[in-house]
């Protein structure tokens, strides 16, 4: 009789412990295995979209739509250093801006609002200061994304921004 009583208590405690350990295991696996990475990716994708839209807007603003000759200006663009904890790249390919991120599901592309015939090139790494440089000569405008250690606001007296 007294044997049984002791055994019941031990079995009860053991059951409780097993249930709790299982619960914590299941919750941790569920949260860290699926839910949290999913949220990080979703939040990262949202930040990436905003970064892309903001950067594209800055590039559009840097490009004057008047006479291209003699335009020489640089405009600094603020980018988040990392998205979802990782470095990423912004690439200009002609008339499109592409955000490349190592994680699947983050990134995208946006069409640039450039005057007809103007093409953009170059790459920004997220952890270096980003500058868009616009130069104009007889052949038209050239838009390049460059890394700028000593980035300035707007250089050059030519060409006001868009109204």
């Amino acid at each position: 009789m007294s044997d049984e009583r002791a055994a019941a208590s031990v079995v009860g405690k053991a059951l409780e412990s097993v249930v709790l350990v299982l619960l914590i295991g299941v919750l941790a696996t569920m949260l860290f295995g699926g839910v949290l990475p999913g949220y990080r990716t979703a939040a990262g994708a949202e930040v990436a979209d905003r970064t892309l839209a903001g950067a594209a807007g800055r590039i559009d603003r840097a490009v004057p739509d008047g006479d291209p000759w003699g335009v020489d200006r640089e405009l600094r663009v603020d980018l988040p250093d990392t998205i979802r904890g990782r470095r990423y790249e912004l690439r200009a390919t002609g008339r499109t801006l592409v955000l490349d991120h190592p994680a699947a599901g983050i990134g995208g592309r946006a069409r640039l609002d450039l005057p007809a015939g103007v093409r953009a090139s170059g790459t920004w790494a997220s952890d270096t200061p980003a500058v868009v440089r616009v130069r104009g000569d007889r052949d038209g405008l050239r838009v390049r994304l460059v890394a700028g250690p000593n980035a300035v606001g707007v250089a050059g007296a030519n060409g006001g921004g868009r109204p």
């Binding site: 019941a8 009860g12 919750l27 839209a53």
Partner: protein, 228 residues
């Protein structure tokens, strides 16, 4: 009885497990909702804002910044929109002017909407003329930036100078003749004055005519919706 005590603790554990799982589920659901609310579709918004700005400022669709050409906007096609504002290419777009749909892609339903207060203009061409023998000035109403002046003076009369509010805009010692287009300040009515010299018998004769375009504008709301 003692056996029941052990199972009582087990029961309490079960309740705790249920509460814990419930709290976790609730937290995940709330996080889901917060994430969903934070989705502002910035690329759609940018496309819509760019198109709205372009429609109200581009030469193709506006008389001047903020004054939309209703005839041009009503005849827009989806391809025109892409040319005006490249960011909308590949997206469903709907443009409404004053509550009436102007252009719409077949699938544009929800999406992000940008509204701009603009003025919708309709042009009115006016002309005025004067007989130089009786009258040597004409008034151009406010809001006109350009006027075409046509001078036809007779042989004994020479129009040497045309003044716009005392500022010379045309001058020729030998005489201003024929048609010329002159820029004016739009903000006030402008008085055009014709300075005349005569030869011979001293009677001034001839005709001057001015033509200009006035924009009748009324306020309206330009609404651009972009759906990915």
């Amino acid at each position: 009885m003692n056996r029941h005590r052990g199972q009582g603790t087990l029961l309490a554990t079960a309740v705790a497990v249920v509460l814990l799982v419930g709290a976790t589920t609730l937290g995940v659901a709330m996080a889901d909702g917060a994430l969903h609310d934070a989705d502002r579709r910035p690329l759609d918004r940018r496309a819509a804002a760019t198109l709205a700005e372009r429609l109200s400022t581009a030469n193709a669709t506006s008389y001047r910044d903020g004054v939309v050409r209703s005839d041009r906007v009503r005849n827009l096609t989806a391809a025109d929109l892409g040319r005006l504002a490249p960011p909308v290419v590949g997206r469903d777009v709907r443009v409404r002017l004053d509550g009436k749909t102007v252009v719409a892609s077949p699938d544009a339903a929800g999406g992000t909407t940008v509204r701009r207060a603009v003025r919708v203009g309709r042009p009115r061409h006016e002309r005025r003329q004067a007989d130089l023998g009786r009258r040597r000035n004409l008034t151009v109403p406010a809001g006109v930036g350009r006027v075409r002046i046509y001078v036809a003076s007779d042989e004994n009369t020479t129009v040497t100078t045309v003044l716009a509010d005392d500022r010379p805009v045309l001058h020729a010692a030998a005489g201003v003749e024929g048609t010329a287009v002159v820029g004016l300040a739009r903000y006030d009515p402008t008085r055009l004055q014709f300075v005349v010299e005569t030869t011979g018998n001293g009677n001034v004769s001839g005709r001057v005519r001015i033509e200009y375009r006035r924009i009748d504008a009324r306020p309206a709301v330009l609404e651009v919706t972009v759906d990915d």
